[in-house]
Subunit: 82 residues, 2 copies
């Protein structure tokens, strides 16, 4: 298992409710791929969303995000954390 | 006070020790601007570093990062968190 930070662009105007619903949709099926989405942060002005997860691979993270209708634009493993 | 996610590019090959030292340098002076850097994640392969902070403004975040020698390439307010 490793940590990943994924980034979504083009989410301009996202609301708290939309972010919460998207996160809940991921949480509902994340177990299928052994992924856990820990936290998400959104900047509605620039349309950027960051998701921190623990997962077996970046492909596993993407499969969950694709199934819930919001594929990530970037997924970075983040092995270093302070 | 607000939450910010800042992003540094071009940090390819960054080590755990370098990340820790950069973070410590920020922590040592962050109080001058009323900033607190909460966590940082690095992907040495792509050279990307993400820093989560609480701060009065993005300019305050950048002033700290500039004084410690690693200005951010992007700083996003992230008012939505789940």
């Amino acid at each position: 298992m490793a940590k990943f930070m994924d980034v979504h662009h083009g989410m301009t105007g996202i609301t708290e409710e939309q972010l919460r619903m998207a996160h809940q949709a991921d949480l509902a099926i994340e177990g299928d791929e052994g992924v856990h989405f820990e936290q998400a942060w959104a900047d509605p002005a620039s349309g950027t969303v960051y998701c921190l997860s623990e997962a077996p691979s970046k492909e596993a993270v993407q499969r969950i995000h694709e199934r819930t209708g919001h594929p990530a634009d970037e997924i970075h493993p983040v092995p270093l954390i302070v």
